[in-house]
Point group: D2
Amino acid sequence: MCGIIGVIGSNSSAVQAYYGLNALQHRGQEASGILTSKNINNKYQFSYHKGIGLVSEVFNDNSLFTNELFGNISIGHTRYSTTGSSDSRKNIQPFFVQYKNGNLAVVHNGNITNASKIRESLIKKGAIFQTSSDTEVILHLIATSKYENQIDQLKDALSKLEGAFSLIILIDGKLIAARDKYGFRPLSFGRTEDSIIITSETCALDINSAEFIRDVNPGEILVFNENDLFNPASINFEAENKIKHCIFEFIYFSRPDSQIFNINVDKIRRKLGKKLAEKHPVKVDNNEKLVVISVPDSSNTIAIGFQSQLSKLGLNSKLDIGLIRSHYIGRTFIAPEQGKRELGVKIKFNIVKGVLENRHIVIIDDSIVRGTTSKQLIKLIKEAKPKSIHLRIASPQILYPCYYGMDFPSKEELIAYKLKNNLDDIRNYLEVDSLEYLTVDELLECVSENNPQNFCTACFNGNYPTLIDNNFDKNKYDN
Amino acid sequence: MCGIIGVIGSNSSAVQAYYGLNALQHRGQEASGILTSKNINNKYQFSYHKGIGLVSEVFNDNSLFTNELFGNISIGHTRYSTTGSSDSRKNIQPFFVQYKNGNLAVVHNGNITNASKIRESLIKKGAIFQTSSDTEVILHLIATSKYENQIDQLKDALSKLEGAFSLIILIDGKLIAARDKYGFRPLSFGRTEDSIIITSETCALDINSAEFIRDVNPGEILVFNENDLFNPASINFEAENKIKHCIFEFIYFSRPDSQIFNINVDKIRRKLGKKLAEKHPVKVDNNEKLVVISVPDSSNTIAIGFQSQLSKLGLNSKLDIGLIRSHYIGRTFIAPEQGKRELGVKIKFNIVKGVLENRHIVIIDDSIVRGTTSKQLIKLIKEAKPKSIHLRIASPQILYPCYYGMDFPSKEELIAYKLKNNLDDIRNYLEVDSLEYLTVDELLECVSENNPQNFCTACFNGNYPTLIDNNFDKNKYDN
Amino acid sequence: MCGIIGVIGSNSSAVQAYYGLNALQHRGQEASGILTSKNINNKYQFSYHKGIGLVSEVFNDNSLFTNELFGNISIGHTRYSTTGSSDSRKNIQPFFVQYKNGNLAVVHNGNITNASKIRESLIKKGAIFQTSSDTEVILHLIATSKYENQIDQLKDALSKLEGAFSLIILIDGKLIAARDKYGFRPLSFGRTEDSIIITSETCALDINSAEFIRDVNPGEILVFNENDLFNPASINFEAENKIKHCIFEFIYFSRPDSQIFNINVDKIRRKLGKKLAEKHPVKVDNNEKLVVISVPDSSNTIAIGFQSQLSKLGLNSKLDIGLIRSHYIGRTFIAPEQGKRELGVKIKFNIVKGVLENRHIVIIDDSIVRGTTSKQLIKLIKEAKPKSIHLRIASPQILYPCYYGMDFPSKEELIAYKLKNNLDDIRNYLEVDSLEYLTVDELLECVSENNPQNFCTACFNGNYPTLIDNNFDKNKYDN
Amino acid sequence: MCGIIGVIGSNSSAVQAYYGLNALQHRGQEASGILTSKNINNKYQFSYHKGIGLVSEVFNDNSLFTNELFGNISIGHTRYSTTGSSDSRKNIQPFFVQYKNGNLAVVHNGNITNASKIRESLIKKGAIFQTSSDTEVILHLIATSKYENQIDQLKDALSKLEGAFSLIILIDGKLIAARDKYGFRPLSFGRTEDSIIITSETCALDINSAEFIRDVNPGEILVFNENDLFNPASINFEAENKIKHCIFEFIYFSRPDSQIFNINVDKIRRKLGKKLAEKHPVKVDNNEKLVVISVPDSSNTIAIGFQSQLSKLGLNSKLDIGLIRSHYIGRTFIAPEQGKRELGVKIKFNIVKGVLENRHIVIIDDSIVRGTTSKQLIKLIKEAKPKSIHLRIASPQILYPCYYGMDFPSKEELIAYKLKNNLDDIRNYLEVDSLEYLTVDELLECVSENNPQNFCTACFNGNYPTLIDNNFDKNKYDN
């Protein structure tokens, strides 16, 4: 997963990109970069700064100024990556090259499912590849397009791509947004008085006091010209748009204060909690009081919805804070002797004993992937000696890998797949008194009343909206 | 403010100190250090590592191992400091020296109010001072004591100190805890199977899976000997103990999952919220629904208490998440153009528009110091166009400086003092529809049913438990 | 200028490359890198480490091991560059890509004079360029060659290049050396028991205890196969070889302990000194003693030759050390107030007063480029109050820029050009009592008895061996 | 060994100290620091910056300016240390404290031989020690002196010290130089137009364009007052001055362009070479030509003297450069696989084969300590197949440790001691055809015609000028 941003208009575009990347930090903590284009005597020049680490770390040395990131167009990227390959430094975005029509730079969120095939075909024709990223494929497709006009080149290139891509492209004098026909990943734009900001999530507009305009449409190319900022050209590069938004953006990935796919994230999360309570309530003897706690911070809003619905159902409950999360445990934390002691979860979470002791506890979590964190968390909670523990998950069982950018592990590591989707076995493994998931239908009811078909649920039911190349190795090329 | 820890017993004492400091990180993010004593051929040797930054940053290079922090006794410190003086690197604790009885190292949380006087008197006698920290004073008092026995020296030294001090001292073969007679700052100890852990807050025991034993008593010296770990000697160095716990540890400073002064912090916070609702409820026309939001994370528990009490009072309300806090904005964040744009609060908080728009909002905050953050936060919330904004503060107006370790600014910068404690003026300044604080009595009712006199409330009413030297410059020597 | 090395054979090839780069450090101090290829399950994989700084700085963190630079083929590069462009990090060599025949990596010393033209033509065909280096052009030419065999591709590519190039290329299982038909830059190879080492100068063989075999011939491609190390294939890619060695390698650039162009550098330098004394001796009244001093370290050997020849001529002289050079003044030295005070030369050199005072001084220097350093040096020497100062330069006046890799400034900055090659004016400018240069013929007599035409002397007389593109901007693309 | 500097007068005193430390870098490469005193509203304040590394590395980040090292008095230090103890960071000088008379800072070159005893006695009286450096002892002695006047305190303190100390002390408004009664280590001062500079070697005056005034006398305290810069008060703190200059400063340690002990270093070195040739010439059959080479750079001047004397003796010889030293091999060089391959010397030196092959070689070196480097160097030279190798050493055999600051190893590691001072055995060990040392008398003849007794030769003959405490552990406290 990644967060992307593009700014055109003001000469402090890099500063706006910087603030935006800070707001998008949750989408990727491994590396980040900003590239700026400036017009010097009618020649466009690129400056950039990128590095390993949080946005605040990469830009902690006044790089915004010392590298002269002063220009009226900037793009930025923040990356999540599990691969520690020695290539990783080269793969940090933005990517930029010179080609026949001038300068070309790009940031990308998503996963090109046919990148491998295109790459091979380009290489056969004499192309050279300097990184293992599928984003480089896009640059080659543009450069080798038979068309002369840059927008035609882009249309040509994008029409060859399969999979998920939200792109922001910087060419001389222009900032371009583009999104795959399924609209897998979010991409919106907004404006301030003198600039346009394109970004993954609207929270990056808010931090810049920018006004939201609309989403970039699936299959749309939007071209912002530095000379006519507020009248972008809109081109559809795909005739038919089968919208398939990633439903996990709502469940877990996006920030609750963002609006994506035209809906407020926190609104959906509250609905998920309500639906979960309605369909999978927790009942204990004598209607003894239930203490509802969330796994902070991602499930906080879900827990609020859950408890309010429980109340409506007449179930005796209250919301409380039973887990404290340490926010100082960042990338650099080293856990000595981790082998010896089971510290994992303990470093990140601590229990509030007074809240949990001798109570019936309902834990609200957004999803279960491998199950290992949940298992450790429940073990930790048991130290407080609750009367009972009930786990409610605001999504269905994850049974299939994602080919569109979510960083799930291989099938074999998914706990639901591993235990053959047997609810009892998962409950036993996690050692809780009860366990319920939302069903796919319940989930879809929450996110969309009218158009449930507009969401991708492949990770739950295997219904992939695109053909999946059998040879596709999702770990081979990271975005 | 600072967080301190001491561990004696196991040879991974430094690792336990490291985990503990991570849990105490909220007490100070500026610098941290660990010092370990090991017995090599019956000679005790000190190793240490300290630096500027978060615990995870200071120890991000395997320093725990490469510096051979392997010994059976360790002490650690994490510091908060506003001073950017060029001395700051020297002032990082632990402090350690060699003196007539061998090695001596110390970590300190608090503020010695007569440090300046003692320092001058020691200097007159020929002492040299290498730092500006009042902790160095303690080392000199011990070293120049007329007594031969180390515990006698310590008693002698501590009896000369005025003010707040929770100390952990490491001498050859022993770990010692000591606390001023007022017990201003918390200090507890617990045990694992093979080690004793002394620390500011019990959350540092939890992260080490240690069992809480008890608080170090005000005026008590507790000596743990490496040869008889679990039978510490307890010495009272002060005849009369006038307990004056810092009430701000409950309101804001300590972690909610800690137990300090023998009470769970989160329990007190919930009570503060309930009392605030009971005494200072918010009423709107037609009992329209109130949306209660907290300023995360410090006020989360207070908000839960507040809303639950509102419900009991029959007031139509719900708890919601109206502010999102960015946890990636750390020490190193640089705000370019901050002069131009009012970014301050925006970088740290974002509003959830859907929650706030067209609603009656009650904001729960723990305290107001300068008022600048509150003012900006309210301005931000107004962007979502709520119907009305009501601010409820879980503590009284802060009118006096703290001489015992809380990092309050000078009187003149305190908003309540500046506006002559006129509630209407403060409300106007903050631009809210209503504003209420807890009174000192209401506050005391929450923290202690029987012994309200056991808490220091000097910052609210100026009743300082100790004599305050007129010349005392609280900014001169940081701890 | 740059230094390059390639090693094939032993699994510690990267370590050998590292030692070699240390020996080549004088050829470039700005940046360096090593890339290693290893065969894992019959798949070749590249690992690399590169960075800004001296070789010892770039590899000061055990990068040789932590980055797993373990493979049987390695190439390395150390770069000199005056450009501080933000591209500089991307331009650090080795360069490497994937292309149709597998992996391809390259290090380059020299300057492709038609790089700009080729680049444009490649770009027109759809190529994308990620750096501003002319080395990237070579990679594209190989990848887009119509040939299938890698050696044919290389021949094809090299035949299109004009200018100076000594290349070491790494492909799967093979290490390849290639040199332009003029043999502008040196390139030799040698062997240890189990490995082949190709390198710019033989001092990089010595540090690895490798035995010199021979120079790579001008216009030759030499292919070392991992399975048959010591029987390389030799291919001539140019029919006609007009040898034009860079004469400045002898005068200044190469290390005196190296053998280049089949001659020992120190031997040539001694000859330069002798010729200089023979043709341009210094005579003072009454045959008073002359003190011959060198500008350390580059002119040391020249000065020895000069003084020994003076003796033979019956001139009363002795060699002495009149200038001390500080070797600690490296890349990172910051000269505060440099505007105010004329520190430049003073930081680098100090005079030995006792040697210079009241003496007739002959200063031996290898060359004069801008003249500013010489001027300051002479001013410094005058502080010691010598009787007279005589400057002897072991090369002719530099009047023309170099298009083949020597880092000379533009014509306008060359002192000899600026003063219209008027010896008196230069002497007056430098404020010395006498000044003499070697003539081009005298210089050629020193380097070659039989084949003076085999050396490039374009910087002295403008006789460029290749066509020079009028549009060629030597500063545009650095190698 | 260390280099020290003090500057009083101009507000760029720190910049002058910085330049000076660069010139003194050869005296210590491990760590360095500068401390500046400035008068702000009649209150003196210290600022400092210090760190591990070369001067150019420690101050490579504009620390000279960002740390506000702007004041009219500065002191600086550059340190050599073999100890890698975890205390090393604390031991970096300048040291500074506050004491009864105000601020006090010091830099020290030398070794206090009774530091251990004084330290113990101070500790008994209640002093605390924060470092293991003997310099801290001096600070305590000053602070605990019974005198009120600072100069009296200093006299009092210095009169208690034994051993070697060249000190520069900074107190409020004054800069003070002091030197032990033996004058073991050099200490001079000079002036610019508006400032006084005190320093270890005159090369640090030269770099600042300062004029040499004179040496600080053995047993002298010199007090420079900011209000009357050029009229320092001179106080003798020792009645009887038995001058014992360290003769090794001439042989090896000082820079040849410095004047120390009132003599030019390079002059002495030339004399050493001449004496060595005169007393220990090399003769080969048929008066075949001898090639004299030096071990660069320390022996360069010695070799010049040696060869010129050989000529006078009618011996057929010439000086040449047979060894090239790499100046890029600094502190950070990592030698991988050093165990496997004998790289040591090879990394630092390379041979010039053409100079050595089939010749009779005379190697001139200043001294032999452990013998390991010499042995490896000779082995390296033999690779060039010389006819014969003759080693001439410009000092006597080192048989005793130095207690006055030279970093010699323990007796047992000294090759001359190990081989019982048997010349034949040493020659056999080094595998040379002939080996000769200067005798102590010959050495003394070179350095002083009239006062040979003014030099310490303890390392050659064990005649220590001071009592040596049997318990003295020269490795315990580094300066």
